[in-house]
Every structure is written in C-alpha cells, then in structure tokens.
Amino acid sequence: MTHSISLTVNGTKREIELNDPRVTLLDLLRERLDLTGTKKGCDRGQCGACTILVDGKRINSCLALAISHDGAEVVTIEGIARGDQLHPVQAAFIPHDGFQCGFCTPGQIMSTIGLLCEGQAGDDPERIREGMSGNLCRCGAYAGIVDAVLEAQANQTDSKQRRSA
C-alpha cells in the first residue's frame, strides 16, 4: 500500500509517494530527494548528524517517520545559503575552525540555527555547550564550534539592533 505525503523542502513543495511507512525523514531526504547534505551518523538519535529543521524546530531526522510528517516544512543544510552567499551560521564556522573532517558539520550548523531561534542560550558558552550537546563531533572541534555559535549569536544580535535602529 502506498501513502501520499506532501512536504515543503527548502521552500519547494514536494508530493511524495511512500511505498513503505518505515522510511524516515533522513532516508527520504538522502535516498529519494538526493539531498545528501544531511548525514546519517548513528541512525539512532544519539549523534545529531541528521539534524534538520521541521516546522522551524531542530529534530533528529533519523527518528522521524516521513509518513507522520505530512504537510511539514523541512529545512536542510542545502536550503540555508542564498546562492553563493553563505548563511551567517555557515560563515561563522569557517574563521573559527568549527570542523575538521566535516561529517558532523551539517548537523552542527542546523542545530546552531535551531539554537539561535530558540533564544535560550544567548552568549553564555555554558548554555551553548548544553544546547549543542546533542551534536557529537568525533574530531573534537567543540571549542571552535562554541566560538562559531558565539559569533553567529553576536552577529544576529547586531543585525537585530541595526534593524531596530
């Protein structure tokens, strides 16, 4: 039995036929929609490499059944830059060496975007570390990642102040 679902992926509406309800959002993105930027690390909700935004909130796409998310709005690492202009969070990871091998980086960046939207951590490194603890980096680039998040947070605060000025 096939199931039809509709997803908005990076701003584009997609009508999808699922021939099996077992497909996770992660596998749907990677295997069916050719969006391989979202990584499959542990596939068990422990590493955060598969982090995406669903309806504006960061979640582990490996534990989300696609069929249960009919109508959802999905944003992946492929959907955040504007052409050649990097998203401010992507840009912040570069000067701070917020990665080494890069495998966890899409998840780290999507998680950071989620963290900044949640607005709970502010510029407190300890709150950032807690808020990013669902994203493992086996190269151990954590110090650079926290610095990158701090810069992205500062840039977001600056641009908000400029807008309201």
């Binding site: 534990l63 807690e130 808020g131 603890s133």
Partner: protein
C-alpha cells in the same frame, strides 16, 4: 525494521479501537519507539499515529489553579512555557536536564511517561531479558549492572525507569488522564508504572488501547514553587541518563518545613516517591541533620542488585543536596546545565 501497517485515525475513539488490536502500538514523536524498532527490540505489527489527533497539544491552566498538559505537548514546549516553568520549576528543570535539544523538541509528554528502560540487556536482542521476552531470563542480573536498580527490583528484572520528567511529577501528585475502550479514566502517576515482581514485561497498568491524553498537576503543587529543585547526577554533564536523580520540593514557614516532597529517579523501575522521607521532613527545621535523616529513611529498604551499592549512598547524598538547594530557593533562571551538581551557582559545595 519489521514491516508494519500504518494507520492515522482522525478521532480518539478510532485511535483506541485501532490500538486495542493485538500487535498494535501508538506512535507519537517516535524518539524512543523508532529507535527500539530499528534494533528489533519492539516489533509492532501496526502503528497508530496519534500526532494529528486534535486537542492534545495544549497547556491549559484550569479554573481550580491546576494545569492540564496535553499528551502531545513537546518536552521543550512545556519546559519553555513561561507560566508553567514559574509555577512548576522543578518539572521544567527536570525536562531540560533530559536528552538533547533535538529530542526535547520532538519528544512528547505522553511518550516521556511511557519511554522504555535503557538497560543494555533490554536493548541487546542477543541477551536474555524478561522485559523484552517474558520468561527468557535476565542477563543484567550477573552482567554490567552498576547503573541498575537499588529499590523495588526483583530477581526477574533490575532495570530502571529512565525519565527525568516523571520524578518531580510524581513528587507533585501528578494525575494521568487516559482514554480507553471503556471511556475516560484517570489515575495518579504514582500508580501508572509497575514494579517488576514476577512480570517485568508488564511495565504499566495500561490496558490494550489505552492512550494517555493528558497529565494534570493540582493547584497545590504550585505551593512548592519557591523551593523546588531537580538534581541529576550523570556520567557526563549533558545528554546522559541519570545515575541517580532527586526532586525536592519544600514549603518553608517561620523556619520550619510545613510540607515536603521527595522523589528519586534512576534507582527503580518507576519514579520513586519517598513518603517516608517526607514524613521525616514535615515540621522539622530545614538543616543538614534532618536532610540526612530523611535521606536515610528514603533508602532504608534499598539493596544492591549487582555492582551498584554505591548508588545507595549516592542517592542519599543527592537527596541531601537537592533538599539543600531547594531550601536555598528556586533560582530565577534554571542554571546553564540544568540539574547539574557542576553548575557554578548550584549553591552547595561538592562533597
């Protein structure tokens, strides 16, 4: 993962009817269930998706001063609800000390209550586990068991319930609302989970088709808001299950404890309310000696189930620390690492 049929009922009644069939399981966010299914630990024939059922995603402040939390409210949504966190700070602190931000965004209130143990032998389908396969035996009993239960366990099962959220909830007299084949009913959260005894495969008192629709906290639970904490000791400072945790909530008047609530997590197959500790504290002065006496009472019937005797003394110290923190007062903002004894402003020195 074993193939399954997927149904998405439009009404509560249809959901209950669909889930009452043998082999059916409810699906909410799936943060625990999908993991278990990938590992072959849970093998449902049919998933009944309740995520789209109407009316289960609200936090309602009731006319009597209590609160009703819909079963589909997310863990993060509840913890960050300003009114809720102010009225029930230990519950918010417990929620934020659990899992990761991604999981808290997805995981639901109802799912948190019904999450399964993280006993490694339950997860490993090559091991014997009376919970996963009734009557097969318990490899944890003679295995790696330093994190297992010290209260309420049996020879058949020494697993613990992993929820942080349930610990302050049970301390604050939370009530669970259930929709079932015979209509709606409710019961105290304290009565939801069962101790293993001879039947560890039966983890709750729920019957086939039963769906948790809401959790209620009574108005009286607000009276502890000024002195309520959740303290969690774990093997890393974030994103780990509790080795031992405690919820402590006090009402202090004229230098005496008017009322007290104490519950433990990570030490039994259910969130462990300690009424004996509460009895010690009622009417007493909030000081180290009385806290220690309450902690002794709470663990009086504890016994190691393996290499975990340390958890008994650890639990006593966690109770004392949680009561000390609660006495100092609920902080205006939950610390950066919720429930962490390592937080800079935890208000108590390390032992």
């Amino acid at each position: 993962m074993k193939p399954f049929d997927y149904v998405k009922p439009a009404t509560l009644a249809d959901a209950v009817a669909a889930a009452a069939q043998p082999g059916a399981a409810y699906l909410a966010a799936g943060t625990n269930l999908i993991d278990l299914m990938k590992g072959g630990v849970s093998r449902p024939d049919r998933l009944v998706d309740v995520t789209h059922l109407p009316g289960l995603d609200r936090i309602e402040h009731l006319p009597d001063g209590g609160v009703r939390i819909g079963a589909l409210v997310s863990n993060a949504g509840l913890a960050h609800d300003t009114d809720f966190a102010k009225a029930y700070p230990a519950v918010a602190e417990a929620l934020l000390s659990g899992a990761s931000a991604q999981l808290r965004n997805a995981a639901t209130v109802g799912g948190n209550l019904l999450q399964r143990t993280r006993c490694a032998y339950f997860y490993d389908t090559a091991s014997r586990c009376n919970k996963r396969a009734a009557g097969s035996g318990c490899d944890a009993r003679e295995g790696e068991n330093r994190l297992h239960a010290v209260l309420g366990w049996s020879e058949q099962c020494i697993a613990t319930h992993p929820s942080d959220f349930c610990v302050p909830l049970v301390a604050l007299d939370a009530v669970v609302e259930i929709e079932g084949r015979n209509g709606r009913r409710e019961l105290p959260l304290e009565e939801l989970h069962r101790l293993p005894g001879e039947t560890p495969e039966r983890e709750t008192v729920l019957e086939p088709g039963d769906l948790i629709t809401a959790v209620r906290l009574p108005a009286a639970a607000r009276d502890f808001a000024a002195h309520a904490r959740y303290l969690k000791v774990r093997e890393r400072t974030s994103y780990a299950f509790a080795v031992v945790s405690a919820a402590a909530a006090l009402q202090i008047e004229n230098g005496k404890i008017k009322d007290a609530r104490v519950a433990l997590g990570g030490i039994a197959a259910k969130p462990w309310r300690s009424r004996v500790a509460e009895q010690v504290l009622k009417g007493a002065t909030p000081d180290a000696q009385n806290f220690r006496e309450a902690a002794q009472a709470a663990l009086a019937v504890a016994k190691p189930s393996g290499d975990n005797a340390f958890k008994i003394e650890l639990a006593r110290r966690v109770i004392v620390r949680a009561l000390t923190l609660a006495t100092a007062g609920t902080p205006a903002r939950i610390s950066a690492l919720p429930g962490s004894p390592f937080a800079a402003n935890s208000g108590a020195l390390h032992a």
